[in-house]
Amino acid sequence: MELQAVLMAAGGGSRMTDLTYNTPKPMLPVGNKPLMWYPLNLLERVGFEEVIVITTREVHKMMSTDPKTKLDIKMKLDVVCIQEDGDMGTADALRHIHQKVKTDILVVSCDLITDVALHEVVDLFRAHNATVAMLMSKAHEFTETVNVPQRDFVGVDQSGKRLLFMANEADLEDGLIVRRSIIRKHPRMHIKTGLVDAHLYCLKKAVVDFLAENKSISSIRGELVPFLVRKQFSKMTSGQKRMDDTETVDQKNDGLTNDDLFFPSRDEALLQLAQERSCWNDHRGDMSEAYHGGKLRCYVHIMDQGLCYRVNTLSAYIEANRMAPKFIEEPAVHPSAVISERFQMGSDSMIGAGCHVADKTSIKRSTIGISTTVKEKVKVTNSIIMHGVTIEEGCNIQGSVICSNAVIGRGADLKYCLVGNGQRIEPEGDTYSNTKKSILLEVSVTFGLV
């Protein structure tokens, strides 16, 4: 077997607590499907047959019992439940399933919605025998939120594929320091800041074994990947020396050497022979062989076109809902929805199963969840209505997010609000008078123009 897929669905959604305080993040409906359906769909389309899903007990229960959140995935899901206390990072989770990992793994985060051609990332991993291969995407307009205090600096080489440098602004106190060994080997480096990390990683099995030994690393993105990127250029990476020294030489970096990470593949000598005879080099201008003789290599695939969203903030959630119809092949209006005539619906709206939509309603650019009731003369624009909501007559809802099981009273006028789970909006209610139960959304940028 070549690759095992691991889906990380235990995240808390710390940046969108308004939405997630009742519904766990992997189960948030996007386009009337739970959020974790999207990465699972991506894996299924590409050809995976089994996925290890790391999630909390609550999500596991919801997956199996709740009909509203039924996942129609044909793959075999091996669910591993972990505690919900939130102390477990992604790397800790990998350590937890260390026994199940038999080959190289592909780690995906549950909040990734993308239509990337996955073979691009995996081909980098295969062809260059890389230790880690990841996916990044050029940021689109809505994610370039102003003044993000924690920019990520990503340094790639000339070809744009090899990852040379990765650091977060928060970790750089004095400024960006680039080691001389990197510059000597790769004199031309492009440093990019506007990239979205898709949190999709192909990792070698040796890395998982390494994680099992070193319990100090708790997050893949925050600690493991920058560590591996730095390790590419530390000393003692040449093949010949590997055999000789068993003692750790690179004591500065918490006593770990490349020997731990460098897992010799079968018949390393033969591979070396083939590489020597091959007239290929990944760089030119200096005297060193291909890859500068380094065994640890990190690669990144940067997408220019195509969709890649990480749904970890409210604005991302709203944008993803807008883009959702592109991913789903089902018709926009679910066949079991009861829709009366004299009803206007825009082409990019979606209506879930079991809905009741009455006369003279107008639904534009919105998503209506499962089992929702919309009474007469309601106008819904640019909004997301989750499951089980009741909207009485004459309401006007604009640019809002209405969570599950809420009831919007007659004639209410909601603009750019977020109504929490199970809340009631009084009839003739106005946004401003209901500030206790709803939260004004200030992200007017994301709704765009009708």
């Binding site: 590409v46 995996v122 591979l271 290929w280």
Partner: protein, 502 residues
């Protein structure tokens, strides 16, 4: 030009009509041929319309081009009619004598390999079916080996060859945790198609390495014998690798050797013992035919290198580099001139390796070879394969170097291991060659890419050939692990080798 077959047929009929009127009688065979051709053209019309979307030539009324088109159409029609008659082909591309009856032209009925009949839709269909038949049954799901699609406009002289784009790898059509094809083979295919493993020896060693992994991961299914089942298992892998990049002669010989070893495993061997034996055989093959052969060739060549020599090498041949490094270590004083050519620019890698050793080198492009040759005392060339008629198949440009060296009376020595000897016979570089990605020829200088939209320009084709053949008249000596032989002794070596194998 390719679509002129359809209209050319009509013109041809007019020609024959004209001949009838002019008083020349059609022989019975020609009438039969005409009838067959009409049928073929009717069939060919539908197929050709489907398989040739690139119709770029506008019909010009110029009489000269029409005659050319007619002649070419006649050739194609004759070819298809011959194929339809026997199922085997006669010679390819007959010369343009339309009135020769077909019966006289078939001294030897030989089968052309399919990879050089890409412009014939029947052969393409057969190839697709063959790939389907080579499906591997995994978990009761039948998945077939995907076929890589041709890319771009092909120059008409080479339209019978396959041309792929590096940006459309075969892995696009495979499922990601590749269950159908062993991951080591997928990795190898990717490395071939991206050029990470390039060079005849490197490719063979990498292939054998991948096969070692396949064999160690192999388990015999019940009711099957290892000797038969393993060979069947390897067949789809080999077609996959062929799709990624056409197999080289050395790889072909290595595969033949492995298949023979597998079939010769006695049935009473237990699976573990059989696998161990096979892995051992592979290691022996590499050790003997590649590593030791290189040592032997280096030893013979050092006698040919004298102090004060100026040696010219072309491109990056692992064997020639090895020889030069060994000679330098043994203390010979010489300098090297590395000749390089676009688009691969492999000479840079050879230059790096030689300079790293301490050899003083000069670097020129192939356009300067006649300028630099007066200084040269010897030319050392590597070979991709040695053909049975003594021709040397090597990187494109080698024959030019050999030609110019001959003109300057400089001895040309070709270094080649015996496992690269091949039973094919070829006298020109057109019949069988490899077309690399045409986009490699595009160059961006100062931000400007002139050939950016080359596909939109009508009648413009980019040709990126990989190999060419050098006649034995230009080669003075071939240094092999069996000794130093003249080019014409290759068939003798092949005969001796075959006797050994039997």
């Amino acid at each position: 030009m390719a679509d002129s077959g359809v209209s050319g047929g009509a013109d041809k009929k007019d020609n024959i009509e004209r001949e009838k009127i002019e008083g020349k009688e059609l022989t019975k065979e020609e009438k039969q041929r005409l009838r067959k051709e009409k049928k073929q053209q009717k069939k060919g019309k539908e197929k050709k319309d489907a398989s040739l979307p690139q119709v770029s030539v506008a019909e010009t009324a110029a009489p000269a081009s029409q005659l050319k088109a007619e002649r070419r159409a006649r050739q194609e029609a004759e070819r298809t009619s011959k194929q339809s008659k026997k199922g085997d082909t006669g010679q390819p591309a007959t010369t343009s004598k339309p009135k020769i009856p077909p019966n006289e032209l078939q001294p030897v009925v030989k089968r052309l390999p399919e990879h050089i009949q890409v412009d014939d839709p029947d052969v393409l269909k057969k190839l697709a079916k063959k790939l389907e038949r080579q499906q591997t049954t995994e978990n009761s799901e039948i998945q077939k080996i995907p076929r890589r699609l041709d890319y771009g406009y092909k120059v008409s002289l080479f339209s019978h060859l396959l041309q792929y784009s590096r940006k459309a790898p075969l892995t696009q059509q495979l499922s990601i945790p590749s269950a159908v094809i062993h991951p080591a083979i997928v990795r190898l295919g990717l490395q071939y198609s991206q050029g990470i493993v390039a060079g005849s020896n490197a490719r063979s060693i990498a292939l054998l390495h991948a096969f070692k992994q396949v064999i160690s991961d192999y388990t015999t299914p019940s009711n099957e014998e290892l000797s038969r089942d393993l060979v069947n298992k390897l067949k789809p892998y080999i077609s996959f690798l062929n799709q990624c990049r056409p197999l080289s002669a050395s790889m072909g010989n290595a595969i033949k050797y492995i298949k023979k070893e597998i079939s010769n495993i006695p049935s009473q061997f237990k699976e573990d013992d059989a696998k161990k034996k096979l892995l051992n055989c592979i290691e022996c093959f590499i050790e003997e035919k590649i590593v030791l052969a290189a040592k032997a060739i280096a030893k013979s060549s050092i006698e040919k290198i004298n102090d004060g020599d100026v040696i010219l090498v072309y491109g990056c041949s692992s064997l020639v580099n090895h020889i030069l490094c060994e000679a330098f270590e043994k203390g010979r004083k010489f300098r090297v001139i590395v000749v390089d050519s676009r688009p691969r620019l492999e000479g840079r890698e050879a230059l790096r390796r030689l300079v790293q050793k301490g050899i003083s080198c000069t670097y020129v492009l192939i356009s300067a070879v006649s300028y630099i040759l007066p200084e040269v005392s010897k030319v050392f060339l590597g070979a991709h394969a040695l053909l049975a008629n003594g021709y040397v198949m090597s990187r494109v440009g080698t024959s030019q170097i050999a030609l110019v060296a001959k003109a300057f009376n400089v001895p040309v020595l070709v270094c080649c291991e015996t496992y690269k000897f091949c039973e094919r016979v070829q006298t020109d570089s057109f019949v069988s060659n490899e077309l690399d990605d045409p986009d490699d020829l595009i160059v961006t200088r100062k931000g400007e890419t002139q050939l950016k939209d080359w596909q939109q320009v009508p009648r413009l084709g980019l040709l990126n050939l990989v190999y060419d053949v050098t006649p034995p008249d230009f080669v003075d000596l071939v240094i092999t692990d069996l000794g130093m032989i003249p080019c014409t002794s290759v068939p003798v070596v092949l005969r001796v080798k075959n006797v050994d194998l039997l």
